[in-house]
């Protein structure tokens, strides 16, 4: 999964890695120049003079800087491109899915699409170039070391390979720790998104202190998991630094003794020159540097692997999908008939079987039945939000399918049982950007409501309409349905939460719509509303026979 992700920006990442390796290589001539300058100072002759040394030191520094700068820029862009692409994919797919994903609810998904995807960035910008440097730079330094001194070369050869072995050992633990950390991030997100929206009720139950306690525990859990990841990362880079420090110290001591003339082994043909000594000392830290960079980025890799694992899990999960795409389409043509034949769905262990029915355009139909009988489910089926397990639903003379669903929905008005509000203005929640007509507001008795709100129709409400009373929220849903100028209205308990007078007004508004030729399909328990319908479809729970009654 991870390599597949990187493959999308393969050439940019490859080029940048080479640039960064090249910058590493340039340290070799730069160090040689510094050594030559000191050699000149010591011997008073030969080598490089101070002025030249300083200028060329700066020149190389500038060159390396530019290379690094370019490499970082390329890597950042490549990383961003990959992350954004993945975000788009998540968005495209989750927009079509129904229900919860394999990872959890909205909080967990938002964590995946948000901060977790961002965790891929350090892997791309830090780990991949470090990997390239490890594969190249130390070998060049090793060759130079052997050229000057077999002893120094030997130190490098021995210390070098210990590092990858150690890293492999650390790698496994790091990955597991990162996975646990990522999971905790997701569940903390879910905990908050879900409970904070319900915080008012939770407090009314006196459960707020317990929620805070629970959150404290989860947040502390996340902290200790993050710390576990960091501990491994720090430990591994400390061990590496230790190797590096010991290696450098051994080189320094050998070089010092050799220069003093105390040691006569280790170099080819007797002692070494001051230039070679200083040069070797300058090279030693850079032999280990790429390995240290790699180890410092090791937990970035572990995090990226954990994220990639979650992405794979998310991708493999086959969720139920919506019919159609949910886009605005030209309305389906033809008279707005609805025909159910042999429709059944599974709900948990239960199978709900619906009676066959045909609803003609302009008919007023009540769906009735006890709580949990399947009224809402039937409305959802007719709207193409759920797929029946058996049977077909014909709408406007065509089977309801992925092709026809969007066109069919363009003719619908929808009043859900539980109002939901987007984090946008109330106006947008009603008409989705279109202006609100005064008629619409008076028909739904909303003018007074808008006036009493602090920011009028620009107010942003709570998710379930917090800030409005239950009846007001329901009237907003009615206004939204009417604003769509529907041919068919699917209303779920439109008169719930309303007093007689307002219920009457809402009923009037619905009936007025029917007067103009729209079909009404209403799931309700309200006997007054039922009485005003042309017919009732009884949605009976399993065991009872479905029946249909027709009013005179």
């Amino acid at each position: 999964m991870l390599s597949a992700l990187l493959a999308r920006e393969k050439s940019a990442i490859g080029l940048a890695s080479w640039l960064s390796a090249l910058s590493g290589f340039l340290w070799l001539p730069q160090a040689a120049l510094v050594a030559a300058t000191f050699s000149h100072l010591l011997l008073g002759e030969g080598g490089v003079r101070v002025g030249t040394g300083v200028l060329s030191f700066l020149g190389f520094a500038a060159l390396r800087l530019i290379l690094n700068y370019l490499a970082e820029g390329l890597l950042f862009r490549a990383g961003q491109a990959i992350v954004t692409q993945m975000r788009q994919e998540i968005l495209a797919r989750e927009g079509q899915n129904l229900g919860t994903s394999a990872l959890g609810g909205p909080g967990a998904l938002a964590a995946l699409a948000g901060e977790k995807l961002d965790a891929l960035l350090p892997y791309i910008t830090r780990y991949t170039p470090a990997q390239k440097r490890v594969m190249t730079v130390p070998f060049a330094i090793l060759a130079l070391a052997f050229w000057q001194s077999w002893a120094v070369g030997l130190v490098f050869v021995i210390a070098g390979p210990l590092i990858p072995v150690f890293m492999a050992l650390v790698g496994y633990a790091a990955k597991e720790a990162s996975e646990r950390q990522m999971q905790e991030i997701g569940s903390l997100g879910d905990l908050l998104v879900d409970r904070l929206a319900a915080l008012a009720d939770i407090r009314l139950l006196g459960a707020a202190p317990r929620l805070i306690e629970r959150f404290d525990r989860s947040a502390d859990d996340l902290r200790s998991r993050t710390m576990a990841v960091l501990r491994i990362a720090f430990l591994s880079s400390t061990v590496l630094e230790l190797f590096a420090a010991l290696g450098v110290a051994m080189v320094a001591v050998w070089v010092g003794f050799s220069l003093l003339g105390e040691l006569s082994w280790g170099a080819w043909g007797g002692g070494i020159t001051p230039w070679a000594g200083i040069f070797l000392l300058l090279l030693a830290p850079d032999y280990f540097q790429p390995l240290r960079d790699l180890s410092a980025a090791w937990h970035d890799k572990a995090a990226a692997l954990a994220v990639a694992g979650e992405l794979a899990k998310w991708q493999d999960h086959e969720a139920e999908t919506l019919l159609g795409t949910g886009a605005k389409r030209a309305p389906l043509s033809g008279p707005a008939t609805v025909r159910l034949s042999g429709v059944a769905v599974r709900r948990g262990g239960r199978k709900i079987i619906y009676p066959d029915a045909e609803i003609a355009p302009g008919q007023r139909v009540a769906l009735s039945g006890p709580s949990g009988a399947g009224k809402t489910t039937l409305l959802r089926l007719i709207a193409g939000l759920d797929r029946p397990a058996a049977g077909t639903i014909m709408v406007a003379g065509q089977p309801l399918s992925d092709e026809t669903a969007d066109g069919w929905r363009a003719r619908l008005g929808w009043m859900p049982q539980a109002p939901m509000f987007l984090a946008r203005s109330l106006r947008h929640n009603i008409a989705f950007g279109a202006p609100l007509s005064p008629d619409l507001l008076s028909e739904t008795a909303l003018e007074g409501v808008l006036k009493s709100l602090p920011k009028g129709d620009l107010t942003i409400l709570g998710e379930t309409g917090g800030g409005l009373s239950g009846g007001e929220a329901r009237r907003v849903m009615l206004a939204r349905a009417l604003a769509a100028r529907p041919d068919v209205v699917l209303a779920d308990e439109p008169t719930a939460d309303l007093d007689h007078e307002t219920a009457e007004r809402v009923t009037e508004a619905l009936l007025a719509l029917a007067e103009r030729g729209a079909t009404l399909i209403v799931a309700t328990h309200d006997p007054k509303l039922i009485a005003k319908m042309d017919r009732v479809i009884d949605v009976a729970p399993a065991g009872r026979d479905a029946q249909e009654a027709t009013h005179g």
């Binding site: 008012a200 110290a249 003093l260 605005k328 009493s452």
Partner: protein
């Protein structure tokens, strides 16, 4: 910057000891690094000088090489300690901050709380707090430790080498780094803040998309909402790219400064050595120490990039923590269950600041076992009366008392209110029920479900451990309603307030639920807002408002 300092002090409060130690260790790491490289450079050059002069035999090799080893190992170990200490302290401080923020939210007035959106709170408690980890780790600690190291290096290099080498190094690093910091922050602050704002907008919109996708699909708005998410992402990407641009430039500038300092050390040191003022070995100390001092400025690069994001987050977090202190409500002892209860409304009125009063001069007294229904048209203030009785809304006139004690002073939940909007959470049925009564056993849960005619439904679904989706998805409207009622019954309240309890239930179920409530709480005072005939029929007394 003042905001960041405020946050830093807030974070230090509980973790002062660890952070101080961490600071000390970070400075130590930097100093040991400079000492290590300076000493190694001196050692090599001095050794070769001694070798050349033939005085190698009397040159003390053991003490310097022991020092090199000590510094090398000591620095590594110190760095490990420093990282663990500072990260642990920072993460602890952040966790505490998160909990403070959540408690702050939980103390908000009811009116504000019902408008709280999950995604918005998530942005505060998770994203903003996450953004603040850089305040100690990448801003203040490196700044203080780096400054101290530079000062010390100035002293030591003046003593060991020459002030003419030490001073330029010091000046180049400090002024250079400060200049880069200020310049970088000025340029990166806006894009960095925008990138974070866009990331938060993406999160809010994406969560909206997920929670309302069915409604959006019905109105053909799904692509629009996706588009809104994508546009936030595009803005984030553009702002992040702009920030990265400045960050890389700042990084390059810091490298230039470091190279310049080393080059100047080499140049002046070399000249002085040639003039015989200092030895070449001393010149080497200056050069190598300057190379190592680069570590004192390198972390500033991240600070430049994160500054805007940190300042924005700090502002929001501070506003929230201060709000938390202002709105604090006292939680007082719960009412003892033994006494027969008496709920009284005394000339109670309520008006939102300046507006027409919703309710005025309301009097009512309820005793144990009494069940009163409030009726009246929508908007007349039935729910307001209930909220005042629950202590969630403070009356602007008169007061509501329970056994003589104002209800606003009781611990939240003493009087149990079941609002019109059912709020269930993701988790099992049992978990949802135990929100009210954490110690309740399964038998009690079953009894509560039976009282609201839900036991069979839940059994058919797989029992108490059946999981519900986000916001309790997986139940029908009426089932949700009944589960919320069952949850309230589990609390065994002495005062139960119900807002349209049987809304959305069919007639027989409504009757069963109302009878179940009465049977479950024979002693309780029940006050109920009701329009349905079934509900009004269940009450002992009906009070008409308006």
């Amino acid at each position: 910057m003042a905001k960041l300092w405020h946050i830093f002090r807030l974070m230090m409060r509980g973790e002062a000891k660890s952070l101080w130690r961490g600071l000390l260790l970070s400075a130590l790491v930097l100093m040991m690094g400079a000492a290590l490289l300076g000493l190694s450079g001196w050692f090599i050059v001095a050794a070769s000088a001694a070798g050349l002069l033939g005085t190698g035999a009397v040159f003390d090799v053991f003490r310097p090489s022991a020092m090199v080893r000590f510094l090398a190992i000591g620095r590594t170990a110190t760095r490990y300690g420093e990282r663990i200490l500072t990260h642990d302290a920072t993460l602890r401080a952040l966790t505490r901050l998160r909990v403070t923020l959540l408690s702050g939210l939980a103390k908000r007035s009811h009116e504000r709380l019902i408008r709280l959106r999950g995604a918005q709170a998530l942005n505060r408690i998770i994203a903003d707090v996450d953004a603040l980890d850089g305040v100690p780790l990448r801003l203040f600690l490196p700044l203080i430790a780096g400054g101290a190291t530079q000062l010390l290096a100035l002293l030591f290099l003046s003593w060991l080498v020459d002030w003419r080498v030490a001073l330029p190094i010091f000046l180049i690093f400090t002024f250079g780094a400060l200049a880069v910091l200020l310049w970088g922050i000025r340029r990166a602050r806006v894009p960095s803040r925008r990138a974070e704002a866009a990331a938060q907008a993406f999160r809010t919109r994406f969560i909206d998309l997920l929670t309302s996708r069915e409604d959006l699909a019905l109105y053909g708005q799904l692509p629009d909402q996706s588009e809104a998410c994508l546009s936030a992402e595009a803005r984030r990407q553009a702002a992040a790219t702009a920030t990265d641009f400045v960050e890389r430039q700042a990084g390059a500038a810091l490298m230039v400064i470091s190279a310049l300092a080393a080059a100047v050390a080499l140049w002046i040191g070399g000249d002085l050595a040639q003039a015989g003022v200092i030895t070449p070995a001393q010149a080497a100390i200056g050069f190598f120490a300057a190379l190592a001092l680069m570590e004192t400025v390198a972390p500033l690069r991240r600070a430049v990039a994160e500054m805007g994001r940190m300042i924005g987050a700090a502002r929001r977090v501070i506003a929230l923590t201060e709000g938390a202190l202002q709105e604090g409500q006292g939680a007082d002892p719960e009412l003892s269950r033994a006494t027969p209860v008496q709920l009284r409304f005394d000339q109670v009125g309520f008006a939102r600041n300046g507006a027409q009063p919703v309710i005025e001069g309301f009097d009512l007294s309820l005793g144990a076992s009494e069940w009163v229904a409030l009726k009246g048209p929508s908007g007349v203030g039935k729910s307001t009366v209930l909220l005042m009785a629950a202590g969630a809304l403070a009356p602007t006139q008169g007061q509501v008392t329970l056994n003589g004690q104002p209800v606003t002073e009781l611990a939240p939940g003493t009087v149990t209110l079941v609002g019109q909007r059912a709020a269930l959470i993701q988790g099992s049925i049992a978990e949802n029920l135990r929100l009210a009564a954490p110690e309740a056993d399964d038998a009690a849960l079953h009894a509560a479900l039976r009282a609201v005619a839900l036991d069979e439904v839940i059994a058919a679904k797989g029992g108490l451990e059946t999981g519900l989706g986000p916001r309790g998805a997986g139940l029908s409207g009426g089932e949700t309603r009944r589960l919320v009622l069952a949850r309230a019954l589990l609390k065994q309240p002495s005062v139960l307030l119900l807002d349209e309890p049987t809304e959305g239930l069919d007639h027989p179920t409504a009757e069963r639920v109302l009878a179940g409530i009465r049977a479950a709480l024979p002693q309780a005072v029940i006050l109920m807002a009701a329009h349905r005939a079934e509900e009004q029929g269940a009450a002992d007394k009906i009070v008409t408002l308006g």
